[in-house]
C-alpha cells in the first residue's frame, strides 16, 4: 500500500482487472482504443491491445447511439463501461440514460436490467469554461434506478470502479478532472469498495464536514491545520451520492452536533440540500446550528482563472463555516 499511483492508473487497473476476469466486460467511447490514444487522457490505455478491438471500441461522436448500444448489450448480459468524455456531454444522451438505462428494470417488471457503467470526467479548475466543467450529479441522483459514484482518491476509485462493474444496475462514475493526476495510495488489486459506504477520513468531535470529490480531500488537509488551532473536525468522504451513507453521516453529526456539507456542484438545488434536509429531519433539536451547505456559485463555470476559482467552494468558506459552528472567532 505504500506505492503511489494516480487515479488515471487506478481506474485503468480496475477496468483491466475486470476485463481479465470477465469477458463480458466491454469498453466503448470516443478515442478509447489504443490506436486512437487510449482515451483523451489515457485512462483506457492498453486495454484494446490486451483485450482486442472487439471488446474495446472507439466510437463515432454519437453519444445517443453508443450509449444506446451499451444499454442493449447490457440487457443481453454484457457489462459495458461506456465513456461519455465529459459530464456536460451527457446532456446530448440524457434520454438514453434517464428514460431508458435507469428505468428499464422497473418498467419491465424486473425482466430486463442494465448492468452498465457510465464513466465521465468533469470539474472546474482546468480553464475549460462553461460547457466542460459542470457537476450534474444531482440530476442522476434524483433519477431512480441510477447510482452515482464520485471517488476522490486512487484507491477509492479502483475499489468503487470494481463495484460499479459488478453492480447489476447502471452506475454513473464521475472522475474529478483536476485531481486525476494526484498521487495516492495504490489500491489492492481485486479489492472492492461498496457503493453507498462513506469513509470517515478524519475523526473529530467538534464539527462534521461531509462531502465528496476533490473538495473533501482539500477539506481534510485543511482540518489538520484547524486541529493545530484546537478545532477538531470530523471529515467524511461520501464517495457515492446515490445511494449515500445516511447512517455514517447521522452518527457523526449526532456526535459533533454540527455539520457542513460541501461539494463542487452548484449549491442551489444541489446534492447538499438532500443531505442537509435529511440531517435536520433526523437530528432536530440536537444541532447547535443549522447545517451549512457550501457549493458552487449559481452561474455557469467561468473561464477566467480568477472567476473560476471564485466559483467553487474555497477553504475560506469552509473555515468561516467551521468557526461559526464551533463558536471560535476568526
Amino acid at each position: 500500500m505504500s506505492d503511489k499511483i494516480n487515479m488515471v492508473q487506478a481506474i485503468n487497473w480496475a477496468m483491466d482487472d475486470a476485463m481479465a476476469e470477465d469477458k463480458k466486460v466491454l469498453v466503448l467511447g470516443e478515442d478509447v482504443a489504443d490506436h486512437t490514444g487510449g482515451g483523451v487522457v489515457g485512462i483506457t490505455k492498453g486495454l484494446s491491445d490486451k483485450y482486442g478491438r472487439e471488446r474495446v471500441v472507439a466510437t463515432p461522436i454519437s453519444e445517443t447511439a453508443f450509449t444506446g448500444a451499451a444499454i442493449g448489450a447490457a440487457m443481453m448480459g454484457f457489462k459495458p463501461i461506456v465513456e461519455i468524455m465529459l459530464m456536460n456531454f451527457m446532456t446530448v444522451c440524457s434520454d438514453m440514460i434517464v428514460n431508458h438505462a435507469a428505468k428499464l428494470r422497473f418498467m419491465s417488471g424486473g425482466q430486463t436490467s442494465v448492468p452498465m457503467v457510465i464513466r465521465t470526467m468533469t470539474g472546474p479548475g482546468m480553464g475549460s469554461g462553461g460547457q466542460h466543467s459542470d457537476f450534474m450529479e444531482v440530476w442522476y441522483a434524483h433519477t431512480a434506478g441510477l447510482k452515482v459514484v464520485i471517488p476522490s482518491t486512487p484507491d477509492d476509485a479502483y475499489g468503487l470502479m470494481r463495484s460499479a462493474i459488478d453492480d447489476p444496475d447502471p452506475v454513473i462514475f464521475v472522475e474529478n478532472m483536476p485531481v486525476l493526476w494526484n498521487p495516492g495510495d495504490a489500491p489492492v488489486r481485486g479489492s472492492r469498495i461498496p457503493i453507498g459506504k462513506a469513509k470517515v477520513i478524519r475523526e473529530g468531535k467538534d464539527v462534521s464536514i461531509i462531502g465528496y470529490g476533490r473538495v473533501i480531500q482539500n477539506a481534510n488537509a485543511y482540518a489538520a491545520k484547524l486541529a493545530e488551532q484546537g478545532i477538531d473536525a470530523e471529515v467524511i468522504d461520501l464517495r457515492s451520492v446515490q445511494p449515500w451513507d445516511v447512517e455514517t453521516v447521522l452518527a457523526s453529526v449526532e456526535k459533533t452536533g454540527a455539520a457542513i456539507v460541501v461539494h463542487e456542484a452548484v449549491k442551489k438545488f444541489g446534492p447538499g440540500a438532500e443531505i442537509a434536509s435529511t440531517i435536520h429531519e433526523h437530528l432536530h433539536g440536537r444541532l447547535r446550528a443549522p447545517v451549512v451547505r457550501i457549493g458552487a456559485k449559481y452561474a455557469a463555470v467561468p473561464f477566467s482563472n480568477v472567476l473560476e476559482t471564485a466559483s467553487v467552494p474555497s477553504m475560506d468558506e469552509i473555515e468561516a463555516a467551521v468557526r461559526s459552528l464551533v463558536g471560535v472567532p476568526a
Binding site: L104, T112, A144
Partner: protein, 316 residues
Amino acid sequence: MDIYSKMSLLFHNDDRARQVIRTGRLNMPYYSFRGQEAIPSVVCSQLRDSDTISTIYRGTHDMLAKGCPVDKLWAEMAGRVDGTCKGKGGPMHITHPESGMMVTTGIVGSSMPIACGLAWANKLNGTDDVTVAFFGDAAGNIGAFHESLNLAAVWKLPVIFVCSNNRYGEHTKFEETCAVDSVATRAAAYGIPGHKVNGNDVVELYNVTQEAIDRARAGEGPSLIEANTFRFFGHVFGDDDAYMPAGEKEAAAAGDPWPNYRKFLTDGGYASAADLEAIDEAHKATIEAAVAFALASPWPDVQEMYRDVYAEELVP
C-alpha cells in the same frame, strides 16, 4: 399461413382493444396499428425466437407477431400483476425477453440505439441472430435515427431498421417534416441498402425483408426498410382526424392489408375461406380468453413501488 395467422391475430386483437377501451373496461392510451398488420407479420415470420426486436408505443402488433403471449399482453395493458411487466410498464413499455421482445419505448427514435446494442451482443456472442428495430416515419427526423444507422453501418451490426411509413407523425404530414420523399433514401447516407416497399403487400415485403435478414445473418451489416402503409385510427385512439384531407382514409382503405391478403390467399387457391376462418376464430377465442384473464388478474401490490428500481428491493 404463418403470416396469415399473425395478421389475423393482430387484426382481431386491435379490433378487440378498441372495443374494450370504448366500452370503458380498459383505460389506457392506445395507439392503434390497424392497417399496418402486414409489416410485423411478414418480418417476424422470418425471425427466430432468439432474434430480438425493439419497438415503439405503436408496437402491439410487433410484440404479438414476435410471439409475446396474448394473455400477458392484455394483462399488462390492464395494469395487472399478470402482465408481462406486472403492470408497471403498461402498453407503451411492454417487454417479453422470452419471445425476444426486448424493449418498447415511448420516446420517438429510441428503439434504434438500443437495437444497435442488442445486435452488437449477437455479434459479440458469435451467433447469427439478428435484431429488428421498428419505428415510424417521423422518427426518421430525429438524431437517434442518424446516429444509430451510422453506428450500425460502421460496426456492421446485424440489425434491420424497419420504418413503418404511415404518412403521419401525430397530426403532421410526412412531407411537411421530412426533406426527402422517402426515408429509404437516407440509407445512402450510411452506405447501406435502403428499400422502399409497399408495406401492405405481403409478397413484396417478404422478398425485401428476407434479403435484409439474410444480409444481417451473413455478417454483412444493417439495412433500412421503409414499408409504406396507413394507420386507420389516427395517432392515439380517440383522436379526431380533422388534420387529414377528406378522402385520404377512404382511399387508403383499398390497401388495407388483412382483407387484401385474405383475398389473395383465397383467390389464388392457397387457402380456403373456411381454413382462414378457422384461424380467425381460434385467434378470437384466444383474445377473448386473454381479455377475461386480464380483467380477472389482480392489481399489483403497492409494495411493487419499491421493487425493480434496483436489483435490491428498496425500503419504503
